[in-house]
Structure formats: C-alpha cells, structure tokens
Symmetry: C2
Subunit: 232 residues, 2 copies
DNA sequence: CATGCTCCCATGTGATCACAAATTCGCGAC
DNA sequence: GTCGCGAATTTGTGATCACATGGGAGCATG
C-alpha cells in the first residue's frame, strides 16, 4: 500500500520501517484498535518479516505500542489517568528541556523556529492537519535539540508517540477554536533570553493544545471505555 | 558464562535476555568500552542470535545502548554535559512522579518502602554494593509505581539505564562517606502526606547520591575524555 | 623500522523455515 | 436460531542461512 521507496539511502530496512511507522503513529494515522501483525505490515510494506519485527520491538520499548499477553502488539488504550500523566510528564520535561536549551539558542536557531512557526500557520490556514502536526513536532524538536547532547528529546518523543494516535481524532475540534499564539510568546521569550517566560509559554502551549483533546476524550469517555473493553 | 536458567517461566527467551542485560547494565557490570556483539552474547548466554538481537534493539531504543555508525552497539560514552542533563531529567521526572504517586500511597506501600529501606541499610553495612544498588532502584520503583498506570516509570528507568554503567565506578567512593538519610526523610514526608517535603527529599536523594559520582567523573575527566576518544 | 596493501575472519542485516500457541471459522447438536 | 466444539489458518518466537561490509592481522615494500 504505502510502499517504501524501492531503495532509500544507506539506512537499514529496519530503520526505514521504523521511521515510517513512527510517522504514522505521530500523525494519528493508525487506528487504536487496528490489528498490527508482523506479516501483515511486512506484506504491506513489501519487506520481509525481520525488519518489521525489529521496528515493532523498538516501538514497544518506546511505549508507542504495547505487548499484550497474547504477544500481539497494539496501540495502548487511552485512559483519563494515563492521559493526565502524559500531559504532566510533557510539561515538566519540555519546560526543563526548553530552559536548558536557552544557552544554545542562537539567532540561527530562532530563525529555524520562525520558519517552522510559519509552516504551522500556513498549514492551519490550509486545513492541512498532517502538515500542521508535523511542523508542530519540528518546532519543539528544534528547540529542545539545540543543545545537541540530547537526553531530553528521546524521552519527549516517547511521550509524543503515546499521545499521537489520539491526536487526530481531536484535532478537527481544535482547529475550529481560536488558539492563542503560544509559539509567538515562546519566540519572544527566546529573543529576550527570558528563561522563565519561555517555561511559561511552553507549558501554556502544551496545556492549550491538549485541553481540547482532553475534553474530547472526556466527552467520548463512554465510547472510549467501551472500545478499551472490547480490546482487552 | 552467566548461563540463563535452562527453562524459565512463560517468559520468552528475548525477555529473559533483556532483563538479564538490563540488570547487568543497572548494576554497572558492563564495562563502557566492552564489545557487545550479537553472536558473542548469544554464545555466552547459550541462546541463538535472535533473542539477543531483539534485546539489544530494545536497549538501544531505551538509550541504554547506542548504535554506532559501524552498526555496532556500545554503552554511550559519558560526558559532563550529558551527565548533567541526566541528573536534571531525573530530578524533574522523579519529583513529579513522587508527587503524583502521593494519593496512591497507602500504609501497605509505606511498609514495602520501609522494607526496601531496611535492605538498603543492611547492604550498606555488609558492603554488598549490588544489593545496595538494586534495593535503591526497588525503593524508587515502588514509590513511583504506586499509582499503577505508569507513564513516568519507564521514562525514569531509561535514565537509570543510562547512568548505571558509570555508577559502580563511583559507588566505592560514595559508600565511604557519611550519607544523609534521605529515604528516611522521604518516608517521613509520606507518612505526613506532605507532598512538598517529599519532592524536596527525592531531589536531595538524587543530588546526594549523584554528587559523588559527578565529582568522580570530573576527577577522572581526563581519563574519561581519553576513553571517549578512543571509542569514537 | 615504519607504512601500505591484501586477504581473511568476525559481524550486522535480512530472508526463510520450523514449531507451538492462539485465534477463527464452520459444522453440528440442541 | 444459538451455543459448543474441533479443525484449519493465522501469528509470534526462535533457529539457521546467505550475503555484504568492515576491521584486523599478516606480509611485503619503501
């Protein structure tokens, strides 16, 4: 179906499969209940089972997927409690990562952030959700990765992967609302080298974007619980 | 060598290999420069290459190991900057995890924590470093895992795995010093249901235990850099 | 004695196969 | 029509094999 390019760069097949799956998860293109079988994915991607096995294993390690007792893998069902934990973890980690990145934020970094912010605005105007989500990740990645030696980024990416599958469902609701320009506030704080303001802007950005998802989750709590049970 | 029990419980071979390797890393029993080859470990553990491959892949995903350009895996070299990031991440994550666990801390949980604390003290008296380290992990795991739905624990374990290999080297230095009883403070805070005091005790515990390692790292900075270069 | 080259072995990657467990589907009984 | 029950298929796990690459030892040459 979404066949991998016949022959990519020097990356191993397993890495190509992994980044492909990771992208699909981050963009919420994989249905939470959907069956994820090794042979199925292998056939779909036109590779043997081996690279898919390793990719799935890695995604399980990153908590993007869950290994059930059946030894099958699935996207972990979301609960209110888990969702709140994910948000809390995102806030403390991303605020700290942003603050620690501050000394490494050069004008070049700010320029890249502005570029990503522009893409976000374009995508929002064009109702291009995939592009919007992806640019959002890019914006945060560039900021947290500015320091180079990345301890925080992998942890944060794990959290994104866990939230991703439930993002798309709520994103349509979100895009209708007027959203405060938190990225603008963050950029202003960066230009002023104001670490405290940056922390506040990042936290507000996470809470804003997530509040709608949370309310969506709550509204569909009955449905969610039913889905979760049906998969248990 | 350290042969796996001929036949364990219902766990898959790959899981047994994984937890074995994880334990060795957490206890600092794997030399940072040591060669970690699939076939070598497979022969050592008496299994085929397959379970080892998957275990290594998973440890790479958890950042306990690093995939080099040679496609070989090694324990990532430590630098001062990375070490400081690891400590900072531990503090924000573990303090938040502890605070969020507070509502779930029953008397039974406190009893288990007291039991682990007793083990820690025994091990310290007996100069049993492995047991000391392991009980320390257990103490924190019990606390953070009290809430059940664990988002924080996997993230924290990833940080432990990254620090583990460099722990043993410094632990002898540490055990000589008089260490303030931070776990006692944490337990007292738990009994009083004092969340703020708990956060402070946890942060102090991390800083205490780590300060010695940090200074050891700095004292051996020249050696460390040389090691790092030789492995680069 | 240092340096470069060649050959060989070790290693990671990917494919395929064997097997056991689990799921599913279909048939039959009530 | 519904509920069990058994066979067939699907699926994950582990082993083995083929292949290409990279590292290292050994030798020859300067």
């Amino acid at each position: 179906m979404t066949d991998l390019a016949v022959d990519d760069d020097g990356r191993t097949l397993h890495q190509q499969v992994l980044s492909g799956l990771r992208r699909r998860i981050l963009l919420g293109q994989i249905e939470p209940g959907q069956a994820l079988t090794i042979r199925g994915l292998a056939a779909e991607l036109g590779v043997s089972a081996m690279p898919v096995r390793e990719a799935l294993r890695q995604l399980v390690a990153e908590r993007a997927l869950e290994l059930m007792d059946n030894r099958r893998v699935r996207i972990p069902p979301m609960t209110i409690e888990r969702f709140e934990d994910l948000i809390a973890a995102r806030i403390v980690l991303e605020a700290e990562a942003a603050a620690r990145a501050m000394p490494y934020v050069t004008d070049a970094v700010i320029a890249r952030l502005e570029a990503e912010d522009a893409v976000i605005n374009e995508a929002e105007a064009a109702r291009d959700y995939d592009r919007w989500i992806w640019a959002n990740y890019a914006f945060h990645s560039v900021l947290y990765g500015a320091a180079g030696h990345s301890v925080f980024l992998p942890l944060i990416e794990s959290l994104w992967l866990q939230i991703g599958p439930f993002l798309r469902r709520a994103i349509r609701t979100l895009s209708g609302h007027y959203t405060v320009d938190r990225h603008g506030e963050a950029l202003a704080a960066l230009r002023r080298r104001d670490t405290m303001a940056l922390r506040i802007a990042i936290e507000a950005d996470i809470r804003d974007g997530i509040a709608h998802i949370g309310s969506t989750l709550i509204r569909s709590e009955a449905l969610g619980r039913q889905l979760e049970d049906s998969m248990a």
